[in-house]
Every structure is written in C-alpha cells, then in structure tokens.
Amino acid sequence: MNAMEAVSDIGSPAQPLLTIRGLQKHFPLKKDPLGRGGGVVRAVDGVDFEVLKGETLGVVGESGCGKSTTARLLMQLIAPTAGEVIFDGRAVGSRDLPLKAFRRQVQMVFQDSYASLNPRLTIEDSIAFGPQVHGVARNEAVHRARDLLARVGLEPQRFAERYPHELSGGQRQRVNIARALALQPRMVILDEAVSALDKSVEAQVINLLLDLKAEFGLTYVFISHDLNVVRYMSDRVMVMYLGQVAEIGPSHPLYKAPAHPYTRALLSSMPSMDPDHRTEEAALAGDPPNPIDPPSGCRFHPRCALAAPVCSQRVPARVIADSRQAVSCLIHEPGSGHPMAQALAQAA
C-alpha cells in the first residue's frame, strides 16, 4: 500500500490556502563584553497576507527586505518572534495540523541548486529521502523518484545515479523541483529558485514550473528580485520593503498603476523594451536603511520622492490580510496629513 496519499483541500476553494497574520522575526544581535549593543535586526516586522488556492503569489523587494526570512518562516524552518501561520484553516503546529503533516504539504525550492543537494547522495536518493521519511518503502520511493525525474525533463536512466556535482545548474534545479514534488505537496515556495540560472535555462525552468503547477494543481509562492519573471509567473504580487509589506495586489493592475511610491520606483528601475514607454520617474537611489534601526514613521520616507514632513512622524496603516488590493502609504490614507492625501480625500 502507498503510505502517502496526496492531501486534498479541507476548506472550500474560497478559503485561502495560507494565511499569515502579524508575522515577525527579530534576530537578536550579540552584545559586546561591556553589555553594549544587543539590539535586534527586524528582518520581518509585521507582515499579513494570504495565499489563495491555486494562485501564484509573487514576492518582490530589494536584497535584505525580508523575502527569504519570510519564506523560512512560512516553512517553519525558523521560529517566528510573533504571528501565526494558518494553513487551509488550521494553525500550523496545533493539534489539527502537526508540523510533520504540514511539511508534507508545503515544500521549498532554494536558490543555490548545488548547496541544496547533499553531495554524497545520488540524485535519486536525494529525491527519495522525503517520501521515506513519511513511511514510503525505499523501492517505492526510488521508483517514484525516477518517475519525477522523467517528469522534470531528466532521463532517469542517465541521471538517477549521478551525483550533484556532475550536473549543470539547470539540471540540478530540476532535481530540486523533483525533490520538492516527491512529497506531493499542495504548496511550493520558490525562494529565488530561478535567479541563479542562465536566462535561457531560467526560461525553461519557469515553463516547467508552470506546467507542473497545472498538472499537480499546485499553489506557488514565488520569491524573486526579478520583476519581469515575477510578472510572468504571478497572479498577485506582494512588494516588501524593510520587513514590511508596502503593497499587495493583482499583478496586472499593480504593474500598470503602482500605488506605493516604492513600487513605482522599483518598477521604473526595470528597463522597458519599448522606447515609447520609457519612464521619467527617478530611479531608486541609495541602499535600504539598516533594519536594526529602521527610520521613524514610514520606513520608506528617507528615499521617497513624495515624502512630506508627516511621513517621518506617522506610521502608515499596515496592509491587512483579507484585502484584495492594498497599499501601506500615507498618500493613500485620507486625512493622514500628507499634502497629496488631502487632495485625494477631497477628490473622493
């Protein structure tokens, strides 16, 4: 008997597959011998969002904005400082959904295809490891690993008994995808999964991911700094800045008419293929501020082209989980005291 059946939906199709509420992760800093220092790095600082069944949620942002930390928090690889992760209506780690059961249903593909494969195991053993953990017999698990290899475009007879260092980056990433799928998950987190690949290989792997999503009815969280790829992959996009959500919404409207000044700056940094569509918007200058000591008020105000005095004093309302489209910016908060917000409120 197969010890591992695919898990089907619990709630209705309308119930979000994943709900994140008030997620925080603060990494404490070491104090020096005199007891000085010892602050915290606010890597993820109050994040709420939902991932709907069958969608691809893209997550974008600069390096260090908390994308990868969020992914690791979703996977329960690190413990959150605060906040909850609810999977298909059940809190992860509760009696209803023990960690091991959750992990079968959510898998991850990492950026570094080489570091994410054990150099001492053949690739079929790497793929077969997960199912064996969940009680599948070795023969059955290896058999399934070979089927998956074929499915991700690697001939099992040629590749199954190879070691990771004998494969190219694109081939290794296909192995990592097969490994993630071996547990028949419902959701896959792709943390910069295609970022390290050559453009041509990247395109192949992206198309493979889209095919697999349709075939297995998967839900993706697609984390990337590549705005073009995110646009191509995603149904909805979440923009993160310094550990918080700046803006979230369906990908078409968001790319067409970004509401948050940060999203606008980010999108204008994306070279357009069409000379008539060159943006005049100022590109983003400087580095993101230090997450140990984030700016007061709106975290984006020191780099924001539209910042007003109020932006350094007042914290914009956080994007909340159940809104389809939302932005965390004082300009879009009527009566916030921002000169442009006033105008908006009167116009409305």
Binding site: R103, M108, A115, L154, S168, R174, R179, V201, N207
Partner: protein, 299 residues
C-alpha cells in the same frame, strides 16, 4: 504572454559524456593514487604496519638478550648491523619488534578519541544553542592545557602503565577532535540540503544519519590521522618519563630515554629510535594531507 520559449528537456540541451558516474569514494581513491607524495607516505605506513604485525618473526636476534660484552657497539658492527644499546641488546631487533608497541600506543588513543570526540562534536554542532555552549565550554577547559602537560598530569593521576597512558592520551585528543567535529557539523547544519531535509519533516536523528555523517566524517577522519603522529610522540614522551611502557619492553620512546645517557658515546645509535618516531610521524602527516586533498571533490 509568450515571452518565454516552449520547454525544452534539459537532456536534449546539454548532453554530458554518458559514462556511468563514479561514486564519491572511488573518485577520491583515484585522486589519491595520482598523488606521489601521498602514495609514498602510504607505502611507508604499510611497511611500518607490516613491521608491527610480523616484527617478532623478522627480527634477526632476541630483542631482550643482553650482553655486557657487546654494550654500545657502533652501527655496522659484525652481527649488530645497527649497533647495540646500553645493555648490549641488538638495536635492529629492538627497533623492529618495538614497532608493534609504538604504533599500538600511537594509534589506539586516536581511534578511541575519534569515536568519542566525533560523537560529542557532532552532537554539539547539530544541537547548537545552549547544548553546544555547555559541551564546548567544558571541552575548552581541557583544551586550555598544553597537551603534553595534560597527558603527563592524567598519566600521573591514573598511575604508570600502558593502559593508563592510552586512557590519558585518549582524553587529551577528545577535545581536539570534538572541536573539529563541532565546527564541521555547524557548517554542514547550515547548508540548504539540511534545511531541505528538515523541511521534508525528517527528525534530527535521521538527518544526522543520512545528511550530516557522510559530510563530516571525512574531514574529522583526516584530522584524526594527523593526530597519530602527535600521539606517537606524546606516547613516546610518556614512556620517556617512565609513565608509559616499562623496561625492558622495546618501545621507541622508552629506548630513546634509556639511550640518552649514551648520546656522547654512540650518538648515531642513540638517535635511531628518534629517527623511527620521526619517519612514522611524518608519514602519517603526509598521508593525512594526501587524504585531505583526495577527498576534496570540488573539481
């Protein structure tokens, strides 16, 4: 949206030479055989092991037979190719027969310390946090003493004798091996494949067995090999101080000790046990260097 071309299977894109892939250990062995220095060292080590196993049958004379008439003869004397010691015993026979005891007390503590030290270090490295701190700070207490001093102190407390000197040397090496094991394990624990294994729901024991051991035992083993030379020298030192092997047993360290009074009379003969210790320790060191580079498969 047709920004990306239709999927092409990876195997059609980049055909690799299709020989059946060699296993990790096979290719490491192949690299090792291509390293002349390491192969030379391995040959010397094999010879020494042969001496240790077959010594009593190879020795031309009785290593315990003393003769007042033949005391401290020089190298090349008739019937005494490597001269004789202060009691007129055949040096060649004593050096050959002494290989067994010298290698035994050099290698045994390293094997014991490898097993225990690796276990402690992997536990500390994988557990991390407070368990790591507790174990490693305790280890540091031992590490704070110079190893010679610690070995002498422990042997002194336990009392003289071969078994006690083996125990004290084992205790000396455990912290050193545990440290290496801990640092390698800490590195491996942070790799993505260990994260992926955790993400698949495996428990700590399974992850250590499948994903950690195979990747840390190699480097720990190489480090332990390099300790064999140190162990031989320390063991010889303990014998030299009268804390290890007792006369009249032939053991190189002890022989060096008893012959030191003859250093002005027969310097070449007196130096022979030292030469044996030197050759053994340098061979083990070169062997471990060769193993280290052969096991590095980043090529």
């Amino acid at each position: 949206m047709s920004a990306f071309p239709a999927p092409i299977s990876a195997s059609t894109v980049s055909p690799l030479p299709m020989q059946r892939s060699r296993g990790y250990w096979t290719s490491a062995l192949l690299r090792f055989t291509r390293d002349p220095v390491a192969m030379g060292a391995a040959l010397v080590v094999l010879l020494l092991i042969a001496l240790a196993v077959f010594g009593p049958w190879l020795a031309p004379a009785d290593p315990y037979q003393s003769s007042m008439l033949k005391r401290l003869k020089p190298i090349g004397t008739e019937g005494l190719p490597l001269g004789s010691d202060e009691l007129g015993r055949d040096m060649l026979s004593r050096l050959i027969v002494g290989a067994r005891l010298s290698l035994f007390i050099g290698i045994t503590p390293v094997i014991c310390a490898f097993v225990l030290g690796a276990a402690i270090g992997i536990l500390a490295g994988y557990a991390g946090g407070i368990v790591n701190t507790a174990i490693m700070r305790t280890i540091d207490v031992f590490y704070a003493f110079p190893s010679v001093l610690l070995a002498i102190a422990l042997s002194g407390v336990l009392g003289a004798g071969v078994v006690n000197s083996l125990i004290s040397l084992t205790i000396v090496f455990i912290p050193q091996i545990a440290r290496v094991a801990e640092s390698v394990t800490t590195q491996v624990r942070g790799r993505d494949y260990v994260e992926a294994a955790r993400a698949s729901g495996a428990d700590a024991f399974t992850i250590v067995r499948v994903h950690v051991l195979g990747n840390v035992l190699g480097p720990i083993f190489v480090y332990a090999t390099s300790l064999i030379a140190v162990s031989m020298i320390l063991a010889s030192g303990l014998s030299f101080l009268g804390l290890g092997v007792k006369p009249p047993e032939p053991e190189w360290g002890l022989m060096l000790n008893t012959l030191r009074t003859a250093i002005y009379v027969q310097p070449w003969v007196a130096a022979l046990p030292g030469v044996m210790i030197f050759v053994t320790s340098i061979s083990f060191n070169l062997l471990s260097d060769g193993l280290r580079s052969a096991m590095d498969n980043k090529g």
